[in-house]
Each structure stands twice: as structure tokens, then as C-alpha cells.
């Protein structure tokens, strides 16, 4: 009989013999290096040569200033914390610095704003705002989750204090009671975990549940603060249970079959106490695959449990509106299960239980989804919830058939994102994004922008494209020069553009990595006036080639900013103009589908013949396609 503890038994792992990988590593480094080496080669044919193309691009960039700003985007601070957060949808967003920043998202989808209070950025996670909107509780950022603790702070102050009595090690998911009197949290110890409550001043730490075999997680208060729903992982099935806030015998609400039906997480009690929403996690293949989750709703006794929406998307972490008529939750933008947990690609959506409509409120930045928190502050205090006021009529109101009315975004205002946008514009404006150029440099979405002492180092990937005729039009084939690794993403990057903001003007200060020397000379030193509008399409890159007498013009459309406001995309018109700015020829109307991520690159115009008199300039205007 072996009775040694698991950790001790696992020590045998250290005696497994390991191979020497150094020569293999060295070989791979050399292979990678040689793949990235690019032969100097003749530029591909281009109509009019390089000088003309550059001229056209500069002209197009000037014309861009005429691009219409998309409506409804909004930026700006919200007044400092305090009661302003009451009835707000609050999203905790991870930052590059490892802290969490609280944002408010408006339920009408008019944007999101950082909460401008000193306590709204904190070194921790799982932030939860008190029902009166004045304080926040969170789990600190200790490296080992065995020692993480609960911190409470005023939003108006930068410093939060640990809950004083018996610092609860391994604490997770603290939640304020609707009456503000207590905080419940789960305590994850090795092998087991229980629920505790504590008063906000740290007094009266009380164990609420006992679970020697597994863990009690994700506590959620009933609106009268008398009961706590939670997830019990028994080591076998995982289900929702409920227990009196003072402790006692819990009762089981759901009976999920872990292998066949998965398990529930993140319960949320409706403000009237008559429903509980939660996330159902299918745990397919015994957890070997990522499968989309769904938001479910049931009666508080566990009956009538059913999914809210049947979408292929991943949906999770529901929170009720104070009047109980709506739910907000996270929804994945795509439905690729392999991407669901690790990558970003989620948004906050609002589901109206009366109209059964879903509205996209806010696309989340690209971090693993479980690093975000979502709360509708004031939930639970149903008695003094304000009657919801109907949103203002949207101008350019979509047709009733449009399923995603009111999708609106907020703006990337961080220095990092500004740097990325400028770097992209600079590369494009210099003609280095020309698909017919010797090389085309493209933004990689690789999340590999870094801060250096010289400025911001923004990653690009070089590719090598050739124009060609396709069956019914024109196209081109490209091959990456740096070996794309879709899983690692950032392996693709091999060119870095260093940009810096000096006296309010962004400037390219250096290029590192894989770039031809003449291209480098063109790019270094470039600066562009900063654009004041937030999200917009740009048409920064253009290329021409001659195909049997026809000039084929290709134009890159780029969405700089977060996702667009209309799921149906954007309609743009490019009107060629002559040297005097007078329209010549037919305007070209084209359509950009909704981007799926910030800095999305749009489609191409193909086989377009420049009209007589055109100097290669176009006025471009865009409006949202509302589906009407």
C-alpha cells in the first residue's frame, strides 16, 4: 500500500532522464534565421514606377482627412467614483502593467469610460464594487494563489487595505452583499475550499460552508442578503447549491451530469429573487477541448433551467440589470473553441429579456477572458432601482430586422494603442504596405508591442506578394517571409518600427529587423498629424499594376480602433478626383464587413480602372451600413 502524499509521489518526475536539446535548439534557431533572410530582388512591376506610387499614396492620405467620422463613438472620463457608479455596468479590465482598471459601460452602448477614481486601478483582480458605488473589494496580486488575500478600498483613495482579521489565504471572488453589510468570498486551499463571509472592516470572519472533498466557489448573494448561491465541486459532479448566509446545511439546486452535461459556474441572482442566471460549461471530452459555454436561467429552486440563447458563441458571467429586465454577459466574437480561453476576442453584450434582443456594448481588449470581471452595480437592491429610461432614438436607426442595433465602441486611448495606430499609418503612408511592392509590411495583431527606451516598438510582418489574374478578376498571392505561426502569433513578427511621441507629434525613430535599406530610409523620420477622431476606416495603402492595358488599383482599408459599431459593416464611397479636386469618373462604392478585431485590415478593390483625368486621388466617405 502506498500512502505517501501526492506531492511526494510526484517527486519521481525529477528522476526521469532528459535529453540534451541544445543542438536541436541551435538548429532551429539557425533554420529560423535563414527563413527570415530575404534575397534582394527586383521589385515587381508597378505602373509608373515607385515615384508615382508614392505620390498617389500621399494624395490618398491627404484625402483621408475627408473620411467621415463614425457616429456615436465617445471618449472621455467619468467623474470620480462615489455614487456615480450606482446602477453602472462595471467591467474590470486587465492592463499591461498587471493591474486591473475598472471601466463603466453604458447599457445603451454609447461607449465605455475608465472610472476616473484613484481606487479604480488596483494591483489585483476580481474587483467587486460595493452596492453604494463607493468602495471596491478585490483579490490581491500575490504571486502564489495560496497566499492571495482580500483587499478593500475606497474608490476615492489609491490605497486599499487587506481585510484585517486572519488574512484569508487563497481567497477568490469576493462579492459585496446587496445590503453592503458583508463580503462573501471563497477560499481555495490545496485540495479543498470553502465559503467565508466577513464584514467590510475585516471583523467577524465566518465560515459559511464546509467541503473537505472539493471546493465551494463563485458565491452569489440573494437580493435580500439572506442566502448565498454557489458552485460546489464535490470532486465528482459540480452543481449549484444554496446556503443561508449565516451558514448551515446547503441544499442542491442543479443536477448536472459532469461528463455528459458539464457543470455550472458564476451564478447571479435576479434583483427580484425569482431567477438565477449562470454559466453552463460543457467540459467536452472530459475537459480536453474548449467548447462554447452558454448563459442559462432557472428558478431559484433549480427548476426550469434552460439556456438563454442558442448561439455558437461562448457566453459567460451573467449579471442582472437592477430592474431585472436585462442581463449583461461576455460573448465571444467568433466561435472557434480552440481560441476561447486564451485569446481575447470577447465583448460585453446586453440581452433584453423582454424584447429578446442582444446589443453589443463593448469589445474587450485582447486578454484571456477570465481576467475580466463584470458587474452591474446596485443589483439586488431592486426596491430603489430606477425605472429604466428608454434610450434615445438612434440616428440612422437600423431597420427592425437589424439584429445588432446600437453596437458602439470605445476608443483606444492608451499610448500603446496610439503608437500602434501611428506605426500602421506611417508604414502605409510610406507605401510599405503596397501589396505589389517588393515587400508588404503588415500589422500582425501579435500583441507584441513593447516599450523601449527609444519609444514604442511595434511589430510588423513582411510578406512578398505577386499580382495575378484569378478566374474572374485580379488577385495576388503572398507568402510570409518570417514563417507564420498562427498558434504563437507573435512568431510571425520580424520587423519592428520604433515610434515615439515628441511634443505631441508621433514620429518614426528607428526600424529593427527585416526591412530593405531603401524602405528603411523612407520610413525613419516620418511623422503624421495625429488624427483626432477615434475609430475610423483608413485607406492608407494603394498599389497599381497593369494587366493587359487595364490599370488595376488595389486599396487597403483599415479599421483603426476597436470594433465597428454596426455588425453589418460599413459602406464607403471612393470618388476619384483630378488635380483640382474635381470629381472625375464614377464613384466606387464598396463595402467593409464588420471587423473582428482592432486594427482590422479590410478588403481590396480589384480591377479598378482609373478614370480619365484622375490623378490617383479619391475622396473617401463612409457610413455605417445599418442593414436598411
Amino acid at each position: 500500500m502506498r500512502t505517501e502524499p501526492l506531492r511526494r509521489q510526484l517527486d519521481v518526475i525529477d528522476s526521469v532522464e532528459t535529453p540534451d536539446l541544445r543542438s536541436q535548439i541551435d538548429t532551429r534557431i539557425r533554420q529560423g534565421g535563414s527563413e527570415m533572410r530575404v534575397p534582394e530582388r527586383d521589385p515587381l512591376m508597378r505602373a509608373g514606377g515607385a515615384a508615382l506610387v508614392v505620390g498617389v499614396i500621399v494624395g490618398i492620405v491627404a484625402a483621408l482627412m475627408l473620411v467621415q467620422i463614425l457616429p456615436n463613438s465617445r471618449i472621455g472620463p467619468v467623474p470620480a467614483g462615489g455614487s456615480d457608479l450606482r446602477s453602472s455596468i462595471v467591467v474590470g479590465v486587465p492592463t499591461a502593467a498587471g493591474t486591473t482598471q475598472l471601466l463603466t459601460v453604458t447599457p445603451r452602448g454609447t461607449g465605455a469610460d475608465p472610472v476616473q477614481a484613484p481606487g479604480a486601478t488596483f494591483a489585483g483582480w476580481e474587483g467587486n464594487v460595493s452596492p453604494d458605488g463607493s468602495r471596491v473589494v478585490f483579490v490581491d496580486g500575490a504571486a502564489d494563489d495560496q497566499t492571495s488575500g482580500v483587499f478593500v478600498g475606497d474608490l476615492d483613495e489609491a490605497d486599499a487595505e487587506p481585510i484585517a482579521d486572519s488574512p484569508p489565504e487563497g481567497a477568490e471572488t469576493p462579492v459585496w452583499a446587496p445590503d453592503g453589510s458583508k463580503i462573501v468570498f471563497s477560499q481555495n486551499r490545496v485540495g479543498h475550499g470553502e465559503l467565508f463571509t466577513v464584514e467590510p472592516d475585516g471583523s467577524r470572519l465566518q465560515q459559511v460552508t464546509a467541503n473537505d472533498q472539493g471546493q465551494d466557489l463563485d458565491p452569489a448573494w440573494s437580493p435580500d442578503s439572506s442566502k448565498i448561491a454557489f458552485v460546489r465541486n464535490s470532486g465528482g459532479p459540480i452543481d449549484l447549491w444554496v446556503v443561508a448566509a449565516e451558514g448551515g446545511q446547503p441544499s442542491q439546486l442543479t443536477r448536472f451530469d459532469l461528463q455528459a452535461g458539464g457543470f455550472p459556474t458564476s451564478p447571479a441572482w435576479s434583483p427580484a429573487g425569482d431567477r438565477i442566471a449562470f454559466t453552463a460549461d460543457p467540459l467536452a471530452d472530459g475537459g480536453s477541448s474548449n467548447v462554447p459555454r452558454d448563459v442559462w436561467v432557472m428558478n431559484p429552486d433549480g427548476s426550469n433551467a434552460a439556456p438563454l440563447l442558442e448561439t455558437p458563441n461562448d457566453e459567460r458571467s451573467p449579471a442582472w440589470s437592477p430592474d431585472g429586465s436585462k442581463l449583461v454577459f461576455f460573448q465571444s466574437i467568433g466561435a472557434d473553441p480552440a481560441e476561447l480561453d486564451l485569446r481575447g476576442g470577447y465583448r460585453v453584450v446586453l440581452y433584453d429579456l423582454v424584447t429578446e434582443r442582444t446589443t453589443v456594448l463593448y469589445p474587450l481588449p485582447e486578454y484571456p477572458i477570465w481576467q475580466f470581471s463584470l458587474q452591474w452595480v446596485g443589483t439586488g437592491s431592486a426596491t430603489d432601482a430606477a425605472t429604466p429610461t428608454p434610450g434615445p432614438a438612434l440616428t440612422d436607426s437600423p431597420s427592425p430586422a437589424a439584429p445588432h442595433e446600437g453596437e458602439v465602441l470605445i476608443e483606444p486611448t492608451s499610448k500603446r494603442q496610439q503608437a500602434e495606430i501611428f506605426a500602421f499609418r506611417a508604414v502605409a503612408a510610406t507605401g510599405l504596405m503596397d501589396p505589389f511592392g517588393a515587400r508588404s509590411y503588415n500589422f500582425t495583431y501579435a500583441d507584441d508591442t513593447t516599450r523601449t527606451e527609444n519609444g514604442w516598438r511595434v511589430g510588423f510582418a513582411a510578406s512578398d506578394c505577386e499580382p495575378q489574374r484569378t478566374g474572374d478578376g485580379f488577385g495576388f498571392t503572398c507568402r510570409g517571409l518570417s514563417g507564420e505561426d498562427p498558434d504563437l502569433g507573435n512568431a510571425l513578427t520580424d520587423t519592428y518600427v520604433i515610434v515615439r511621441l515628441d511634443d505631441g507629434l508621433w514620429k518614426v525613430v528607428d526600424v529593427e529587423g527585416n526591412m530593405l535599406s531603401d524602405e528603411r530610409e523612407r520610413l525613419v523620420g516620418v511623422s503624421l498629424p495625429q488624427r483626432s477622431e477615434p475609430s475610423h476606416w483608413e485607406f492608407p495603402a494603394i498599389g497599381h499594376w497593369l494587366d493587359e492595358g487595364t490599370t488595376v488599383t488595389e486599396m487597403v482599408a483599415l479599421w483603426v480602433g476597436p470594433y465597428p459599431t454596426a455588425a453589418h459593416g460599413t459602406v464607403c464611397t471612393a470618388q476619384p478626383i483630378d488635380a483640382n479636386g474635381v470629381s472625375v469618373g464614377k464613384a466606387l462604392r464598396f463595402y467593409q464587413p464588420a471587423p473582428l478585431q482592432p486594427f482590422e485590415r479590410g478588403g481590396w478593390i480589384r480591377g479598378y480602372e482609373l478614370p480619365q483625368g484622375s490623378v490617383g486621388l479619391a475622396e473617401v466617405t463612409c457610413s455605417q451600413n445599418t442593414g436598411a
Binding site: Q9, V16, I25, G32, G33, L342
Partner: protein, 154 residues
């Protein structure tokens, strides 16, 4: 032509992490070939972008597990019935027992309890959410208990 030597930083990282990383990958993938490929590729990727990486150790482990996961997925498509479980030893029952778990379960167990990563770190490495890590830990411990009579008190 670019040539990149195994520089000091890479060598130090390899000496500190190479063996542990390879063992963890072996237990995850159940296949020494996958473990070697994933570890070597992760080190090579690191060498190309070392100056960008703020936490080399965390980056390395995360990259290696992503590469291994991709390789496992690719292999399961190529040859779904391939039995790649590596019969590590007959003398360590714990290793034989780990083989009976799913790759993610055994990765969670070893990364958390042997290599000392937190649930959040394990979640990041494996590309799953921390609650799922905890589910795996508990399911796996339950199964190991049944197989090995591992006591609960650790």
C-alpha cells in the same frame, strides 16, 4: 546571413528550465518526441525574441505548452487512433497512474503540485480558465486517489 549562437541568457535559461520543462511536457504530451520538439522550438523562439520578453521563464513555459498542444492536436487529426502514451517506467506507479488521466488533467496535476505553478499560471499555460484548472485538479486527484490510495492531507 544571420547567425545566432546560443547566447549566455539562453544557455542559462536552458540550464535552469530545460530539464523541468521537458519533463512537464513529457507528462502532458505522453510522448518524448513531442516534448523535445516543443521544448526546443520554445527555446528557439525565445532566442529570436529574447529582448522582447519580460518574464523569460513564464514566456518559455507558456510557449512550449502552446506548441505541444498544437502538435497534439495536429497528431490527433492525422492519426486519431495513435497511442502515443509514453510508458515512462514500471517502477513509479504515480507515472503509470498519470498516463490514465487526460493530458490536461495530468498537466494540471504536475504543474500545480510538482512544478509549483499557481492555478492562474497553469491556466495561462494550458489555455484554459482557472476554474477549469481546479476542476481538472479535483477530478484528477479523485482518480489518483482511487488508483494509488494517495492520502488527502497534503
Amino acid at each position: 546571413v544571420r547567425t545566432i549562437e546560443l547566447n549566455d541568457e539562453l544557455t542559462r535559461l536552458y540550464e535552469e528550465e530545460g530539464a523541468a520543462l521537458w519533463r512537464a511536457l513529457l507528462i502532458y504530451a505522453g510522448d518524448p518526441e513531442v516534448a523535445s520538439d516543443a521544448a526546443a522550438e520554445a527555446f528557439a523562439q525565445f532566442a529570436r525574441r529574447a529582448h522582447d520578453v519580460r518574464s523569460p521563464r513564464a514566456w518559455l513555459w507558456r510557449a512550449a505548452f502552446k506548441i505541444a498542444a498544437g502538435e497534439l492536436q495536429r497528431r490527433s487529426k492525422l492519426d486519431p487512433i495513435r497511442d502515443s502514451d509514453y510508458h515512462m517506467t514500471d517502477t513509479a506507479p504515480i507515472l503509470a497512474a498519470l498516463v490514465s488521466l487526460s493530458p490536461r488533467q495530468r498537466a494540471c496535476i504536475t504543474l500545480r503540485y510538482h512544478f509549483g505553478y499557481t492555478s492562474r499560471e497553469v491556466a495561462t499555460m494550458l489555455g484554459i480558465a482557472p476554474p477549469t484548472v481546479r476542476v481538472h485538479l479535483l477530478q484528477a486527484r479523485r482518480r489518483l486517489r482511487a488508483l494509488l490510495e494517495v492520502p488527502d492531507e497534503d
